[in-house]
């Protein structure tokens, strides 16, 4: 009912470009793993290789300890929830959900019972006889999930499963997906480019770019201590500050940001998220700033400012909504030095 996935040195070329470049990844049995990245980063290729829809050029794939390279999709302990659901439009929901069991030779009454059970699991009790065309987008997504889970796969693969839903429904469904995963216990591998979705749902986020894994770990660790500049900017808005290490101190255009153990003279980049820059006093860093733009976001007001100490720089900060700020105003801001992330390399 659940299995560990071990991927080693996986490479996949499309022509001269590599969609995957020596990717190694282990997903524990029963884990909810989200592959996150921009389009073209290789996340879907990786999912297709796990599911048996594409062959790797190099590398190993083991699911539950069994070698899977060359095994056709139909014979793998995996099923997939496709991005566009790929329901069978000419079949009732019962027949859609029971299709996998029918292919396995399960008798009609048994597979109907199981299909009803799965429809109940996804909250569609009593809709057995409907056709997919009679359902809303969110309901179709549930049927696709029920169909893939009906054959009790060890690993469920989800290819942008919420991509076709509108924002509110997407946020609701992601909580539900997580709940279903806890109940059925299978390993879930979920591909998305939506970082909010990934952070909300994942046990482990795997951030990919250009066919490589840039970072992986629990959502909070990846958000708060990103391994690379790409990860820092992809997982939410951030400010990058160029910094140099001088006499054991981090020196930025804004001033001295405290002591560090990094190598003397090294050129670094600091990442500071907007929520870690807030109201302050003139003596704080960055201190006095000119407001360029403000955007009301309900919970916060996001301001774009130009600090007096480094007028070439643009910073974004979140203010509490109670604090008014308009373009042209001058405000004092303070940066929280406990939430700096130090990344290698200078300004690019």
């Amino acid at each position: 009912m659940t299995a560990r996935i071990e991927i080693g040195g996986m490479t996949k070329l499309y022509g001269a470009a590599s969609a995957l470049d020596a990717v190694s990844l282990t997903v524990e049995a029963g884990e909810y793993c989200v592959l996150l990245g921009p389009s073209g980063c290789g996340k879907t290729t990786l999912l297709n290789i796990i599911g048996g829809f594409a062959d790797p050029d190099e590398g190993s794939l083991r699911i539950g300890g069994r070698d899977m390279v060359g095994v056709p999709a139909a014979k793998r302990p995996t099923t997939t929830v496709f991005q566009d659901y790929a329901l069978f439009p000419h079949m009732s929901l019962l027949d859609n959900v029971g299709f996998g069991l029918r292919m396995r030779g399960v008798a009609k009454s048994a597979r109907h019972a199981r299909a009803r059970e799965m429809l109940t699991l996804v909250g569609l009790t009593g809709a057995d006889g409907k056709r997919p065309s009679e359902l809303s987008g969110g309901q179709r997504q549930r049927v696709a999930l029920a169909r893939a889970l009906a054959v009790e796969p060890d690993v469920l693969l989800l290819d942008e499963p919420l991509g076709a839903l509108d924002l509110n429904l997407r946020r609701a469904m992601q909580e539900e997906l997580k709940g279903i995963q806890r109940r059925v216990g299978a390993t879930f591998v979920h591909v998305t480019h939506d970082q909010e979705e990934a952070m909300a749902i994942a046990d482990r986020i795997v951030v990919m770019q250009g066919g490589r894994i840039e970072d992986q770990g629990p959502p909070e660790r990846v958000y708060r201590e990103p391994a690379t500049r790409f990860v820092a900017s992809f997982l939410g808005e951030t400010n990058f500050l160029p910094a140099r290490v001088e006499a054991g101190r981090l020196v930025t255009p804004l001033g001295d940001l405290g002591s560090t153990t990094a190598a003397e003279g090294a050129a670094l980049t600091l990442s500071v998220r907007p929520e870690h820059i807030g109201p302050g006093a003139a003596g704080d860093l960055p201190g006095p700033c000119a407001v360029i733009e403000t955007v009301f976001q309900g919970v916060h007001r996001k301001v774009t400012v130009r600090p007096d100490r480094a007028p070439d720089m643009i910073l974004r900060a979140l203010l509490p909504v109670g604090q008014d700020a308009r373009p042209g105003d001058r405000i004092d801001l303070a940066l929280d030095p406990d939430h700096l992330t130090i990344l290698p390399g200078g300004d690019k």
Partner: protein, 255 residues
């Protein structure tokens, strides 16, 4: 509003232009007299009865039905298999291959008839209803292919992929997923193919000897000139085409 009035007038004129010939044909098949021209002297079913009592025309009708149904079934099967194979292949050349099968739609029936005649001559095969049917399979396979190919798209490819993921083999995928999904197109292709065969004259004329299809029999009948009986048998041909069209509207469009 005048824009709509203008459109409506234009459409009415167009309908009249397209449908008038058929209406005249059918109307004067009921003419009580020897000439299918005005004035309409009275209505009679005499000519229709004569057609139904004519053993040659009835044999032609049977032959046309057999050739039409049989050749359409074969053409549909060949076209569907080719369309599915090409639609799902990831070949770069699929576009070219597709064009190559579709192309013969625009090749002259006359050329195909002449070519088949030459080929049969060469192979020393005699002419029969079978050779007519082969000719109709040749002309209708590209048509069936084109209709099936247009119907098989990403939705079918995705559904097939899902079926494969759930453990289905190729035959079950085709029978349980692909064919039912494009059933309206299959029905349309079959019926269109049938009406084309039903109507086809030149290939049937060139490739038959003793057992003739209805259009060829009608052509013989026409040598004695236009009369209400030719109108009546023309109406009969039209009736069958119209039934096929009705079946299409009921079967294919409703789904």
């Amino acid at each position: 509003m005048t824009r709509y009035a203008l459109s409506a007038a234009y459409l009415l004129a167009l309908y009249a232009f397209i449908f008038l010939p058929v209406l005249v044909l059918v109307a004067f098949s009921f003419q009580d007299g020897r000439f299918p021209v005005p004035p309409l002297r009275g209505l009679t079913l005499r000519w229709h009865a004569e057609v139904l009592a004519d053993p040659r025309l009835m044999a032609g009708l049977r032959n046309s039905l057999v050739v039409g149904l049989g050749s359409s079934l074969v053409a549909l099967t060949l076209g569907f298999l080719a369309a599915r194979g090409l639609a799902l292949s990831e070949l770069r050349s699929a576009r070219v291959l597709r064009a190559a099968i579709t192309a013969p739609i625009s090749v002259s029936y006359l050329v195909i008839g002449l070519g088949l005649l030459a080929t049969l001559n060469m192979a020393g095969l005699g002419l029969s209803l079978w050779t007519v049917a082969v000719g109709h399979v040749v002309i209708n396979t590209p048509l069936c292919f084109a209709i099936c190919a247009a119907a098989i798209g990403p939705a079918q490819a995705q559904a097939e992929r899902a079926a494969r993921d759930l453990g289905a083999g190729e035959l079950r995928i085709m029978a349980l997923v692909t064919a039912p999904m494009i059933a309206p197109a299959l029905i349309a292709a079959f019926l269109l193919s049938f009406t084309f065969s039903w109507d086809e004259f030149i290939i049937a004329f060139l490739l038959s000897r003793f057992d003739l299809t209805l259009p060829v029999e009608i052509w013989s009948l026409l040598r004695s000139g236009l009369n209400p009986k030719t109108n009546a048998v023309g109406s009969l041909v039209f009736l069958v085409s119209a039934l096929a069209l009705l079946a299409y509207e009921l079967g294919a469009r409703r789904r």
